[in-house]
C-alpha cells in the first residue's frame, strides 16, 4: 500500500466510521453552539440527535436546519430521549444545568460548565488555525501565479529574441520568413497573456454596474466565440427565458460567457451540441453553458480553476480563462459550478442572486 501524507486524514476518518456512533445533543445555539455544531458536522463518529435553543433565530438552529438536524426551542423533551450518549450544554446558564440532570435519560452523560468552555476554546483555536492556513495557502497561490506568468512570458520572449538574432545572421529568405512567423506567434502569445492579466487586474473601478440583459450578452458572446474558433459543425440550442438581467458590468459578463463558450467549443473539437440556458429559478438567475465535448477527467477537475492550468498545447491556452471567469462570478456574488462526464460532455452553471427592484 502506498502511503502519502495527503492520505493520512482520510484513513483516520474511515477508521472513525467503523467505531460506534456517539449520539449527541447540543443545548444552546448561539455563537458557541454554532461553532460546536460546525465542528461536529465534520466528525463522522458523531451523530447529532438535535439542537435546542430558546431563541428561534439562534444562528446554530439555522445551520442545523440546513443540515436536516432536528431543532427545538424546548430542550426538555429532547434530552429525555433514551438513545442519547452525550448532552453538550453551551447555554452558559448555570441554573439550567440543574434542569438537565433532573430530566435527562440516566444513560446520557453531560458536558457542561467549565468542560464545555474548554471545548469551546479548543474549537475557536482550531478555527483560527484554519484561517491562518487558508491565508498561507492564498499567499502560496500568489507565488504560483506570479511565477506562472513569468514562465509563460519568458518562453515566447526567448523565442522572439533568439529568432530575431537568427534573422540578423540569415540570408536565406525562406528561413527568414519562417523565423518571422515564429516571432509573430510568440508575440501574440504574450499579448494574450497580458490581455488576460489586465482584464483580471482591472476588474473593479471604472463605471458602475447596472442590470445587464443576459440574453443579448449571451448572443454577443456567441458571435465572438464563433470568430475565435472553427465553428463548422456545432448546433446551438438557446433556452432563454425572457427579460433576465444580472447586475454587472457588461464587458465582464461578456468575458465570462465568451470564455465558457470557447472552452466548450474547443472541447467538442468543433463538432457537437452547445446548449445555452438562461432562466429565473426560485428568485435566482441561472445561466448554464453545456457541451457534448470530451469532458474533464476526475484528475483534472479540481485543477481547472487554477491560474495557468491548461491541457491545451503551448501557445493555445494560457489557462487563465476559468480563473478569470470564477473571479468575475464571485465578484457578483454568483456561484460557478461544473458537472462533467468524460466522453459525454460538460456543463458549467452560474447562479446569480436575482436583482430585486424594490431594494434599489
Amino acid at each position: 500500500m502506498t502511503h502519502t501524507q495527503g492520505e493520512t486524514p482520510l484513513v483516520s476518518e474511515r477508521q472513525a466510521e467503523t467505531q460506534p456512533r456517539i449520539n449527541v445533543v447540543i443545548l444552546g445555539a448561539g455563537k458557541g453552539g454554532r461553532a460546536l455544531l460546525e465542528s461536529f458536522l465534520n466528525l463522522p463518529r458523531i451523530h447529532l440527535i438535535g439542537v435546542a435553543d430558546k431563541d428561534e433565530k439562534a444562528p446554530g438552529l439555522k445551520l442545523a436546519r440546513r443540515h436536516h438536524i432536528p431543532t427545538t426551542q424546548d430542550a426538555l423533551p429532547l434530552i429525555q430521549q433514551p438513545d442519547i450518549h452525550l448532552i453538550v450544554d453551551v447555554t452558559g446558564d448555570p441554573s439550567f444545568s440543574q434542569n438537565i440532570y433532573r430530566h435527562k435519560h440516566p444513560n446520557a452523560e453531560v458536558l457542561g460548565g467549565a468542560a464545555s468552555k474548554v471545548l469551546w476554546d479548543i474549537i475557536q483555536h482550531e478555527s483560527l488555525m484554519q484561517t491562518r492556513l487558508f491565508q498561507a495557502e492564498k499567499l502560496a497561490g500568489m507565488g504560483t501565479f506570479a511565477s506562472g506568468i513569468a514562465h509563460d512570458i519568458n518562453n515566447p520572449l526567448y523565442i522572439i529574441l533568439a529568432m530575431a538574432e537568427a534573422i540578423q545572421d540569415e540570408t536565406d529568405t525562406a528561413s527568414i520568413h519562417q523565423y518571422a512567423t515564429s516571432i509573430r506567434d510568440a508575440a501574440q502569445r504574450i499579448q494574450t497573456i497580458s490581455q488576460n492579466i489586465t482584464h483580471y487586474a482591472r476588474a473593479s473601478q471604472s463605471e458602475e454596474s447596472f442590470p445587464v440583459p443576459v440574453q443579448e450578452t449571451l448572443d454577443e458572446a456567441l458571435k465572438i466565440a464563433k470568430f475565435a474558433t472553427k465553428f463548422h459543425e456545432i448546433t446551438v440550442i438557446q433556452n432563454y427565458h425572457d427579460h433576465i438581467t444580472i447586475d454587472s458590468k457588461p464587458e465582464e459578463l461578456l468575458q465570462v460567457f465568451v470564455n465558457l463558450m470557447i472552452n466548450a467549443i474547443h472541447a467538442m473539437e468543433n463538432q457537437g451540441l452547445l446548449t445555452l440556458t438562461a432562466e429565473n429559478q426560485n428568485g435566482v438567475v441561472l445561466v448554464s453553458i453545456a457541451d457534448t465535448g470530451k469532458g474533464i477527467s476526475a484528475e483534472h477537475l479540481p485543477k481547472i480553476f487554477d491560474p495557468f492550468f491548461t491541457t491545451k498545447a503551448p501557445g493555445k491556452g494560457t489557462g487563465l480563462g476559468l480563473y478569470n471567469v470564477r473571479s468575475i462570478v464571485r465578484k457578483y456574488k454568483g456561484e460557478l459550478t461544473v458537472d462533467s462526464q468524460v466522453g459525454k460532455g460538460t456543463i458549467f452553471s452560474i447562479v446569480f442572486p436575482s436583482v430585486d427592484p424594490t431594494h434599489k
Binding site: S147, H151, A162, A174, A186
Partner: protein
C-alpha cells in the same frame, strides 16, 4: 523545413552531443540553432517521458554529453525526469533551462548536482558556455 546545419554535424566529430528536453518546438529549435552553430550535435525530446524513452531505446547515454531540460512540461515533468536521469545516468551532466526566474529553485537544483540553472531568455553565449562547462566536467568524470 530547414533545421539549421545539424545534419552536417550529426554523428561524428562534433564538440559533443546534447539532448534538449522542452515541450515547445520553437524553443527547441532556438536552442538547437545556437548549439549546432557552436559545433554541437543535438537531439530533441518533447517531454521527460520521451527523453527517457529515447535514451532507453538506443540513444547511448555514454555518447550523450549534456542534457538540457525545462522543468515545467506535461506528462513526466522536468523535475521528475532530472531525478530519473541522475539516478540512472549519474555521469551525464544536466542543465536546467526554464522560464522560472526562481532563486530558491535554482539553488535547490544546483545542490542536487546539476551543472547550471539558466533562465529564458538566455543569451547564446551563456548557453554555449554552460554546455562547454558541462562537457568539461563530463571529461573529468570519464577519466
Amino acid at each position: 523545413m530547414t533545421e539549421g546545419t545539424a545534419g552536417m554535424f550529426s554523428g561524428h566529430n562534433t564538440k559533443g552531443r546534447v539532448l534538449i528536453v522542452d515541450d515547445e518546438p520553437d524553443v527547441r529549435k532556438v536552442i538547437k540553432m545556437a548549439l549546432t552553430k557552436a559545433g554541437y550535435d543535438v537531439i530533441e525530446a518533447e517531454d521527460g517521458e520521451k527523453a527517457i524513452a529515447a535514451i532507453k531505446e538506443g540513444e547511448n547515454p555514454l555518447l550523450l554529453d549534456v542534457i538540457i531540460s525545462d522543468i515545467r512540461m506535461p506528462k513526466v515533468n522536468g523535475v521528475e525526469a532530472i531525478n530519473y536521469f541522475q539516478q540512472q545516468w549519474p555521469s551525464v551532466p544536466l542543465i536546467v533551462l526554464t522560464g522560472f526566474p526562481d532563486m530558491e529553485m535554482a539553488t535547490g537544483f544546483i545542490k542536487k548536482g546539476i551543472v547550471d540553472y539558466l533562465v529564458k531568455p538566455v543569451e547564446k553565449e551563456k548557453l554555449t558556455a554552460a554546455v562547454a562547462k558541462a562537457i568539461d566536467q563530463r571529461e573529468i568524470t570519464r577519466l
